[in-house]
């Protein structure tokens, strides 16, 4: 069944996030030969339409408004509802990002619709559009279908491959003017704490530290390694509880669930709650001085040793090959 699917493109620091290209690819599958319409919301987003089209959107609608400079659920839902009213899509796909998680349930409630969150894969199987998503923080997976109403999903970053970028692709870009009325939540200030650069949920490489890192300064060698590999730094709850780092870095069942290409666990014992958050990573490396540590059971490669020796050596070695590459 051909469908018209709306994809919400997400803009961060002036550029489109990768997950938006992945959402376009997901929408292509979900559209079953129908149309993929990109939507961009913000105070200055028109210039980004082309890129969404290069990644596979058939056309793009932008909603620009001063009041949409920052994300608020009221502002964005008003903009999006105006587009939905104009387009009557059969489906919607957002990234399962901070913004997508916050906005999608509100829009679903407005539309009286279902919503399949945190999707890691989708396919047409047996005549159905079937979504796969982790449950129990990745300890199990479920396959879900829509039984009534809109096809609405948020997709987890880093799991669905974007389509090849094709700069010769063209498509219509139009803009819709929407009157944004009272916003009930006002952002007074944004305090930037996240390590500059790579976001944990989208990182291809994660260097994670646990209680073995021993102090806030102990994270320094991990930061160095992350920098060389263009990765992000994460942590176990043990490290967060001990105040070595911020809770926003926590990975696990009550933290972030991540699936990078490479996960390097340093001084992490491998408690079941931690494993729930990272064991679906493509390649796992464990560095721990205890050869019996549970983390070695899920690691593809392990080094038994002191992380303060091993990590700097690793950084040096990677630096060499990456310079040569």
């Amino acid at each position: 069944m051909a469908r018209k699917i709306i994809v919400l493109g997400e803009v961060r620091d002036g550029s489109l996030r990768n997950v938006s290209f992945e959402a376009v690819a997901a929408a292509k599958t979900a559209s079953e030969g129908g149309e993929v319409v990109g939507v961009l919301i913000g105070d200055s987003v028109n210039a980004l339409s082309g890129e969404l089209i290069h990644y596979g959107a058939d056309r793009v609608i932008t909603v620009e408004n001063e009041k949409l400079k920052q994300y608020t659920p009221d502002g964005y839902s008003q903009a999006l509802m105006a587009v939905i009213d104009a387009e009557s899509p059969e489906g919607l796909i957002f990234g399962h990002t901070s913004l997508g998680k916050d906005l999608a349930p509100k829009v679903a409630a407005k539309l009286n619709s279902g919503l399949i969150s945190d999707v890691t894969g989708l396919e047409i199987a047996g005549g159905n559009l079937v979504f796969t998503r982790p449950i129990y923080s990745g300890k199990a997976f479920e396959k879900k279908i829509v039984t009534d109403g809109l096809v609405f999903a948020t997709i987890r970053p880093n799991n669905i491959s974007p389509l090849e970028k094709d700069e010769s692709r063209t498509g219509e870009a139009s803009s819709l003017s929407v009157d944004i009325k009272d916003l009930r939540t006002i952002i007074k200030e944004v305090v930037r704490k996240a390590s500059e650069g790579v976001d944990l949920s989208e990182a291809k490489v994660i260097i994670a530290g646990g209680r073995g890192v021993k102090s806030e300064e102990g994270f320094e060698p991990l930061n160095e390694l992350a920098k060389v590999l263009n990765g992000a730094v994460g942590a176990s709850r043990g490290a967060c509880d001990a105040d070595y780092c911020d809770y926003s870095l926590q990975i696990g069942q009550t933290g972030k669930v991540v699936t990078p290409d490479l996960y390097i666990a340093c001084g992490i014992s491998g408690a079941i709650q931690h494993l729930a958050g990272m064991s679906n990573s493509k390649v796992i490396v464990a560095i721990n001085k205890d050869p019996e540590a549970n983390i070695f059971k899920v690691a593809d490669y392990g080094i038994v040793g002191d992380l303060f020796e091993v990590v700097p050596l690793l950084t040096e070695e990677f630096r060499k090959i990456l310079v040569n590459a």
Partner: protein, 257 residues
């Protein structure tokens, strides 16, 4: 202040997950209050203690959910409400749960509703924002700080590691992120008192809901476990050689760097 907490009963985080007959096997499993909902309960108690009022903890579940509701009462909540769907519904999704909760809440004049950011089993994070929308009140998700003065609230929201300072007004729904507070353990006197606190049980009928009104929009057709990860290779030899070997393996064999 009239405060409501939305609470889900869930698997203990220590539990390994197994499947039998296509379903998650619950036999012998330990159940707990969803960890994020513990933060929600703690925050509600702190707001009540500072501002006066009453904390009611609400859960959509079955008879067994009474245990977690009693724990919430033992922590210090004043009242608990179980909306028991066992006899009425066989299947539900987030649409179902949010609809039931909002029907219950719509005439309660709640000033503040606190939910968890996400349930560690279902994992969608939908219920909080859905309920707020259905009640037509503002919401802020993944909060790490809440200050209330009169009918104004200042909230700190965790956004992928950055913090937003948000101003809004009551009535308000917020969802709790880790770091919001340190949930207390129920004390012995708390546990004794909890036995006498009211725990009401409702069914769909009591909310004037028909099965059709809450029928799920999505359906689970299969549940499976991820392929078991084989323990890999622990490297040996001189440390410097191990490191070289590892870099080589990651670069040329696994090709992840």
């Amino acid at each position: 202040m009239n405060i409501y907490v939305l609470m889900k009963r869930t698997f203990d985080t220590e539990e390994k997950i197994t499947i039998s007959g296509g379903q998650i096997n619950e036999d012998g499993a330990e159940f707990i209050i969803n960890p994020y909902d513990e933060y929600a309960i703690e925050e509600a108690i702190q707001v009540r203690d500072a501002q006066g009022g009453e904390v009611t903890v609400v859960s959509v579940g079955n008879e067994e959910t009474e245990k977690q509701l009693r724990t919430a009462l033992a922590m210090g909540a004043d009242k608990a409400v179980l909306i028991n769907t066992e006899d009425d519904l066989e299947y539900g999704d987030q649409f179902t749960t949010a609809k039931i909760l909002s029907e219950y809440l719509k005439d309660k004049d709640a000033d503040l509703i606190i939910a968890g950011n996400v349930a560690i089993d279902g994992g969608s994070g939908q219920v909080g924002p859905r309920v707020a929308e259905l009640l037509n009140i503002p919401y802020v998700t993944t909060i790490t700080k809440l200050d209330i003065t009169g009918s104004n609230a200042t909230v700190v929201r965790d956004v992928e590691g950055d913090s937003e300072v948000i101003e809004t007004t009551l009535p308000l729904l917020v969802t709790a992120q880790q770091g919001l507070n340190e949930p207390r353990y129920p004390s012995l006197p708390g546990i004794m008192k909890a036995k006498k606190k009211p725990l009401d049980e409702l069914e769909l009928d009591d909310l004037d809901l028909e099965e059709d009104d809450v029928e799920a929009k999505t359906k689970t057709i299969e549940i499976y476990l991820p392929p078991k990860k084989e323990a890999g290779k622990v490297l040996e030899g001189e440390l410097a050689d191990q490191v070289k070997e590892l870099v080589n393996l990651l670069h040329t064999e696994a090709k992840v760097v």
